[in-house]
């Protein structure tokens, strides 16, 4: 890490968060509300430490991630196939295209009543909501990404006698990779939101459940602490996992950093 990086990124960040914490503390000192409604930074930090020490946060993260990975992998598999079908068949695009758009605009939590009827208060319900919440967005971004590659690449492939699945695999997918990654990132965000919405609704053990538990126990510190954990995970995945992947691909393709 260069001194330049420290000066341009770390120092401003540290100053910003220090100011934020100070401002928060000032509000607490001014007593704008009782401590069971408006938490102090110190109590939130203690609750955060306690949550990790008694392993309840670790357990919640693990449970949530297991659901997320299951649901998201299913969404990618189904969405990938649907996206390729939309690309391949004009008829499918004209007919099912509008339905997929409609389903994509449906907020994921609207699937929950149906999920409860079909799967009951179970793991299956939450995974179903995660899949439904992200699969259509993934389908649409995949389709758009594949459709909008420069036609010259397709002509080159056809000219060299590449067709069918080989054309998809060797030309369409690599050519669309930068936009496919954006689609992945966006669908991940949808899946993550759906998961927490689903977990809030019943005794489900994940992070959403921990959040709701805090409220039921009137433990405002715990509520804010869990919110911080959820936010940190979101930032970590977005910046470090998807951000790194995107940077690697864009560098290799000679594209400007987005």
């Amino acid at each position: 890490m260069t001194t330049n990086f420290i000066r341009s990124r770390i120092v401003p960040c540290a100053l910003f968060y220090t100011a934020l914490l100070l401002g928060w503390q000032v509000l607490v000192v001014l007593r704008i509300g009782p401590s069971y409604i408006f938490p102090s930074p110190l109590n939130v930090a203690l609750s955060l430490a306690e949550g990790f020490r008694d392993r309840s946060f670790w357990f919640g993260i693990l449970v949530s991630f297991r659901r997320l990975l299951t649901g998201f992998s299913l969404a990618i598999a189904v969405g990938g196939v649907l996206g390729a079908l939309l690309l391949k068949s004009r008829t499918f695009e004209k007919t099912a295209g509008s339905l997929i758009l409609g389903l994509q605009t449906l907020p994921s939590i609207c699937w929950f009543p149906l999920a409860l009827v079909w799967f009951g208060l179970s793991e299956g319900s939450i995974i179903f909501v995660v899949v439904m919440g992200s699969v259509f967005s993934f389908t649409m971004t995949i389709h758009a990404g594949l459709k909008n590659i420069p036609p010259i690449y397709v002509n080159i492939g056809r000219n060299m006698g590449v067709r069918g699945p080989a054309l998809l695999w060797d030309v369409f997918i690599p050519a669309a990779l930068p936009s496919l990654l954006l689609g992945l990132r966006q669908s991940w965000a949808f899946a993550w939101r759906s998961l927490l919405a689903g977990e809030l609704l019943f005794n489900s053990q994940g992070l959403g459940f921990l959040l709701n538990m805090g409220r039921e126990l009137n433990d405002i510190n715990r509520v804010v602490a869990v919110m911080l954990v959820i936010m940190a995970i979101g930032v970590f995945i977005d910046k470090l996992v998807f951000g790194r992947m995107e940077l690697a691909v864009r560098t290799r393709y000679g594209l400007k950093p987005s």
């Binding site: 690449y153 080159i156 056809r158 000219n159 060299m160 060797d170 393709y253």
Partner: protein, 260 residues
């Protein structure tokens, strides 16, 4: 027997409600190993004709025969080098050259040998592991050429491949292309709007007339010794003849475009 026999009655595009006739009565033959240049004013359908020869555009009236068989689809024996090149940015120089071979399922060892051969032919062995955005415009042209040659096609169809280059890079590539053509003995159909380029490179030059509805206007044979350069005296004399034919056509294009 000519390797390509072109007899196109007409070629049109659907444009809004009507059809737009691009060219008609195009008739010529190309012998094996010949280097033929097509020149003409812009919009006369040179690229369209090349697409037809490649098999990328099968909708035309008439007949194009490749080794006696009608062209109605793509075939790796007739490879196009597009104006935009279309090199794959996700592959290195070497992987780009290997692309077609890999798709044809050529075994890895043979593939590597062929790649190395053409990397050396276009003098890019040092850059084999570079990505496309890391090399110069002239090198990109050579990668595109090597990628096509590696497939060992019988006919190379080149669509104004050098039009975006600076003059020095272009002069070098004229030399390179003539040398490589001498070694590989490919049949080349080369589209350009640059008459000097056409005379420097071609055995024969076909001149198209102005749009709308272009036809084949004239044909010139160039018997000059090779390698030729663009400034050679003989080249300049023939350029004057070809340009004489072309000038009236270019004027017609402008008259048509500005005072239809």
């Amino acid at each position: 027997m000519p390797i390509l026999k072109v007899d196109i009655a007409s070629k049109s595009y659907p444009a809004n409600a009507e059809t737009l006739l691009v060219f008609e009565k195009i008739r010529f033959e190309i012998g094996r190993g010949e280097f033929v240049c097509l020149v003409g004013p812009s919009g006369c359908g040179k690229t369209t004709l090349l697409n037809i020869l490649a098999g990328l555009d099968p909708r035309y009236e008439g007949e194009v025969l490749f080794k006696g068989r009608r062209v109605d689809g793509c075939d790796a024996d007739r490879l196009m080098i597009f104006q935009e090149l279309g090199l794959f940015p996700w592959l290195t120089v070497r992987e780009n050259i290997a692309f077609g071979l890999k798709c044809k399922k050529v075994p890895a060892a043979k593939r590597a040998r062929i790649c190395s051969e053409y990397l050396h032919m276009v003098d890019l062995a040092r850059f084999q592991d570079s990505y496309i955005h890391e090399i110069s415009a002239g090198m990109k042209q050579r990668v595109a050429l090597a990628r096509a040659l590696a497939m060992d096609p019988e006919v190379l169809l080149m669509d104004e491949p050098f039009s975006s280059l600076d003059a020095q890079a272009r002069d070098l590539l004229y030399e390179e292309l003539q040398r490589i053509w001498g070694i590989t003995k490919k049949t080349i159909v080369f589209v350009t709007h640059n008459v000097r380029e056409a005379v420097c490179l071609g055995d024969r030059i076909l001149v198209f007339s102005a749009p709308p509805v272009a036809r084949l206007k004239a044909s010139f044979s160039v018997g000059l010794p090779r390698p030729r350069t663009i400034e050679a005296n003989g080249v300049i004399d023939i350029v004057k003849c070809v340009f004489g034919e072309l000038k009236s056509e270019i004027r017609k294009t402008y008259d048509h475009e500005f005072h239809p």
